[in-house]
């Protein structure tokens, strides 16, 4: 980008812009597969953009591009300097820059998904970056993970427990995970998925659609 790139400084109040959805969770839990599923299911009806935060350069972005679920230009990758949690929580500047670049190039958008680099249970998105966040676990990480909690599990707007098809093979009790998650999350929702069995992630996509509708209703552009 050169010196004449247009000024795309946005007001922080959220009016007139897309819902920003963070997708976080441990390595291998299925974040990228979920993002691909959401693009597949919501792409026909919503204008989307995706920002990935890879641990190693553009691996996840390349996966999404190859999956063909979204125009390549609508997927941007952010490098995180060995610290994926810093880039989504403490210093969100590069991610905000990527989000606003997508909005300027392709806007108005309905939804921008920011996928975190795989991290641990303490990683959450700054409210300055993500308006809503999904935390993705998988059953093969063990059915004790919801009980262990951590900010991702306890505070995410939606907890997704993925790879339910593996539960019998790894001896994970979905009932225990559901009960423990409810205990630490109160009324916040939990959805069980197997993106391998349902590549549309229909239940998660329905939740995201509701969030987008509520956001656009509450944050319509100022009439000015």
């Amino acid at each position: 980008m050169g010196a004449n790139h247009e000024d795309h400084h946005h007001a922080p109040d959220g009016h007139g812009r897309a819902l920003r959805l963070g997708v976080g969770g441990p390595v291998g839990s299925g974040k990228t597969a979920l993002v691909a599923a959401l693009c597949r299911t919501l792409g026909p009806s919503l204008s989307l953009g995706v920002v990935t935060n890879d641990i190693y350069t553009t691996e996840d972005a390349e996966f999404l591009r190859r999956a063909g679920v979204l125009d390549e230009e609508r997927i941007l990758a952010v490098e995180t300097g060995c610290c994926p949690h810093t880039a989504i929580r403490d210093d969100i500047a590069a991610n905000l820059d990527a989000v606003e670049t997508l909005e300027d190039r392709f806007g108005p958008l309905d939804l921008v998904i920011v996928e975190s680099g795989g991290d641990n249970l303490t990683a959450t998105f700054s409210r300055g970056l993500a308006d809503r966040q999904i935390f993705v676990l998988d059953v093969s990480g063990g059915d004790k993970v919801p009980r262990k909690g951590g900010p991702g599990v306890t505070t995410a707007d939606l907890l997704v427990v993925n790879k339910t098809d593996l539960a019998p093979m790894v001896g994970a009790d979905l009932g225990v995970m559901d009960r423990d998650a409810a205990a630490v999350r109160g009324a916040r929702p939990v959805l069980f998925t197997s993106i391998r069995q349902d590549p549309t992630a229909a239940t998660v996509a329905a939740w995201v659609s509701e969030q987008v509708a509520a956001w656009s209703h509450a944050h319509a552009a100022h009439a000015s």
């Binding site: 010196a3 000024d7 210093d91």
Partner: protein
């Protein structure tokens, strides 16, 4: 903040300087290694002594140039004359002193992100004017303007720039090589006289054309190699 205050008489540190120099300033700096990642890949930096040489070289080339340009930007922001028509010219002076395209790109990325943060943290007509004139400014331009908006002097801005030139690179080496962080901070402390000298030299000012233009071909090459690397943890 009275810029005329003599630091020898009043040694109080400007708190704005601490904020600007702090690696926790949320302006995207944490993901830039200043060439260290590629230097680690190539083996040039592999332990604390080799990092010491890298940091010293970086400070006395890229750091010295950045400090002088940052001080010039801070002085330009203070005016007179009104800075807005001049921003493009000073920004071009940075371009002229930054040989590697990858370094120009990294500088503009960091400048744009710093300007974004500064406009919210230190709202100022000067920063709005800079954003209008050069939305994607080089980092020294953004840092100098932000320092002025925060109430800092050109010398203080130069100190922040000099520290920026080595602080991020040192942290990147700790992350990439698992070096003893106390030993690495010892290196930074050992550079304190050099930092003071670089910042002090930056205050002399003069015509922009006569600002320092030290080249560092090794850093240029590292930046270009890094931009072409398949596997990369840092942006630069």
């Amino acid at each position: 903040m009275d810029p005329a205050v003599n630091p020898a008489v009043n040694p109080a540190v400007n708190p704005a300087l601490l904020l600007l120099a702090d690696s926790r300033l949320p302006a995207g700096g944490h993901a830039h290694s200043g060439g260290v990642e590629q230097a680690v890949t190539s083996g040039a930096v592999h332990d604390v002594p080799s990092l010491a040489g890298f940091l010293r070289g970086r400070l006395h080339t890229a750091g010295t140039v950045a400090a002088a340009l940052t001080a010039a930007a801070c002085a330009c922001a203070a005016g007179p004359p009104p800075p807005e028509p001049a921003w493009g010219l000073l920004d071009a002076e940075v371009d002229a002193r930054t040989a590697a395209p990858a370094q120009r790109e990294a500088s503009r990325t960091q400048g744009r992100l710093l300007l974004r943060v500064a406009r919210r943290v230190w709202p100022s007509p000067v920063l709005e004017g800079l954003a209008r004139a050069v939305p994607n400014p080089h980092h020294p331009i953004a840092l100098g303007a932000a320092a002025h908006a925060a109430g800092a002097t050109p010398e203080e801005a130069a100190m922040a720039a000099a520290y920026h030139a080595v602080g991020g690179a040192a942290t990147a080496a700790v992350r990439l090589l698992g070096l003893d962080p106390v030993a690495v901070h010892g290196l930074l402390a050992g550079l304190a006289p050099d930092l003071a000298a670089v910042a002090g030299a930056a205050r002399s000012g003069g015509d922009w054309e006569s600002l320092p233009a030290h080249s560092s071909p090794a850093l240029d090459l590292l930046a270009e190699q890094h931009a072409r690397a398949d596997v990369r943890l840092f942006i630069s």
